[in-house]
């Protein structure tokens, strides 16, 4: 017998409670409760009005117009995020300059302020008498109560997600890989197109999806700047509003069943769209999963 062995227990220590199953149960209960909180309102929404009501809602031209307006305007907002947001994310990730922290805080501002403030600010910016009012009128992009107002609010509240997500993904690209590529003969623009951007693409797309989701669900700013949307620009339907404002209106007027029906309709469309993008991302027919690391 050597002396060291006397310190080691001869069998595993007995415990009064086996904590493994308990721990797992706790996790399941806690996350399950949260999931329930997400699901139950949706169920309540879908069961409030009969299904037939949903089809009826879908046939109303104003509802259709509101749906079209919402998805079209949010699409333009995403496009704006691509054009302006991605370069800004790249700039913030790759260039050190004085005041970068200030710029980063400004970019995050729309995420943290109540969106009613956003609408109010934009409203004061473009009401008649301001230079911007005259300018937008003269170039044929009037903002107040038009589709351009909707787009403006949506860009304001949604673009930060793309900027922040692309900044993070551009920063995550290993600088040594970029230097190796340059040394192999690629100029800085070529390096961006063939290395930096493909490697950052997944994060950038995730940011765009968030931006789109944020744009579609916007209401606060719209209540002020584009409560009603009059025909003009690419929109030439009846006077309507975005779907969020439209539902809010129905609710305010006491049309609970209509509100539930239109909301359900919107949820279905949004969910299907979201699912398609997500599935595409998973299956790999969208290019950004290529070459991804294990597993």
């Amino acid at each position: 017998m050597n002396r060291g062995a006397t310190n080691a227990p001869s069998s595993p220590p007995r415990r009064r409670w086996r904590t493994g199953p308990l721990w797992l149960t706790l996790q399941l209960v806690l996350s399950g409760s949260l999931l329930l909180l997400f699901i139950l309102p949706v169920v309540a929404l879908f069961t409030y009005a009969p299904i037939s009501h949903l089809f009826e809602a879908a046939s109303i031209s104003q509802v259709r117009a509101a749906l079209w307006l919402t998805f079209f305007a949010s699409g333009i907002a995403v496009l704006a995020a691509v054009v302006f947001g991605i370069p800004m994310g790249y700039l913030l990730a790759r260039r050190a300059f004085r005041g970068r922290t200030v710029v980063e805080s400004l970019v995050a501002l729309p995420v943290v302020v109540p969106h009613l403030l956003v609408g109010l600010g934009l409203f004061f910016l473009v009401i008649p008498g301001t230079p911007l009012y005259r300018f937008t009128q003269s170039i044929g992009f009037p903002v107040y109560d038009t589709i351009w107002g909707v787009v403006l609010v949506m860009v304001f509240v949604s673009a930060p997600y793309t900027v922040l997500a692309s900044e993070l993904s551009f920063r995550a690209v290993d600088g040594r890989v970029l230097e190796a590529a340059r040394s192999l003969g690629a100029g800085s623009a070529t390096v961006f197109l063939t290395v930096t951007f493909p490697l950052a693409l997944r994060g950038v797309v995730a940011g765009l999806i968030l931006s789109w989701a944020r744009a579609v669900s916007e209401i606060g700013g719209l209540l002020i700047l584009a409560y009603a949307v009059y025909p003009g620009g690419p929109y030439n339907g009846p006077v309507t509003s975005t779907i969020s404002v439209y539902i809010y209106n129905l609710f305010q007027n006491g049309n609970l069943a209509d509100a539930a029906a239109v909301a359900s309709l919107f949820l279905i469309i949004a969910f299907v769209l979201f699912l398609v993008v997500r599935l595409g991302e998973r299956s790999g027919w969208l290019p950004w999963r290529r070459g991804e690391l294990a597993p």
Partner: protein, 346 residues
Amino acid sequence: MSHWVVEGLETDLDHFHLGPVDLDLVPGSAIAVLGTSGAGKTTLLRTLAGFLRTRRGRILRDGVDISGWAPEDRALGYVPQGLGLLPHRTVAGNIRYPMELRNRPGAGRRTQELLDRFRLVPLAHRYPARLSAGEQQRVAIARALAADPGMIVWDEPWQALDVIARYELGLVLHELRETDRVPMVVVTHDPSLAFSIADSFVVLHEGRVRKQCDAATLLRAPSDPFAARFVGYENVYEPDALAGGAVGSLRAWLRERAGPEGIAFTCPGLPTGPAGTPLWEGTVRSARPGPPGLAVEVVSDELLVTLRVPPPLTPPLPTLGGRIRFGIDASTLQPLGSSYRPGVGT
């Protein structure tokens, strides 16, 4: 192949100053850049590759000063730490990349040749993340060659490799030197690699060239503590370690013989040195196989000294915690310091 001359190269990175550095690389030659971390090794390579601005001096390729050129125009295969493989391209895609950039005709055939030569054919369609460290190294070499570089600049090519992969890559680098005749500048911490491929050495310390010499000179007169450890001296003491110690002690004895930067020696024998050398006594801290024979670590006068016990190993062998007497052959002592010249010191 090109002939490269670097003259008085200096650069600044934040508050770090590198240089002046002078190098001369004929086709088929290789320089190993040594130094502790923070010595400026990577800074030197990135300046050569064009990622840091040259403050002063020139980089001449066949007589043409390229120090103002963009990295992509230098025709210089820079392999950064971590190799810089493109994670979103396969092995074949990585090797093809530099040829795609140049619209080089016959890129497919050349890619195939390189895959063949570096035994990468079965891995051609894998992504770098799925390769072993040794395989990734081979991809990096093949890709660097695909760009037809006038010089290859390697930053620490040996990181995280197992013994066999190291050996194989040693062979590959050798071949690059001998067959392709590509001049190389290699940063490494590995003495066996450095001595096997490099014909000359640059030791950097805090941005300055501490020593620049051929292999034989580095071995014969390492001149500073870093170089001494690098070439394999087991006992290297800087002046701080020798401070204290009463008259007649081991530390005092070594201090009398040390250069401004300390002293180095390898203790070849036990228990006695040549007649007339003082004998020291110490406590055995460890004894391990040090073929041939044993390597014994002894604490004596607050110094840790490694002794070599040659075969045949006759009992009694040193035991842990036991006392042992040893002598140091004064002729093996290597004083360290810039003022020292071989044959001049005492």
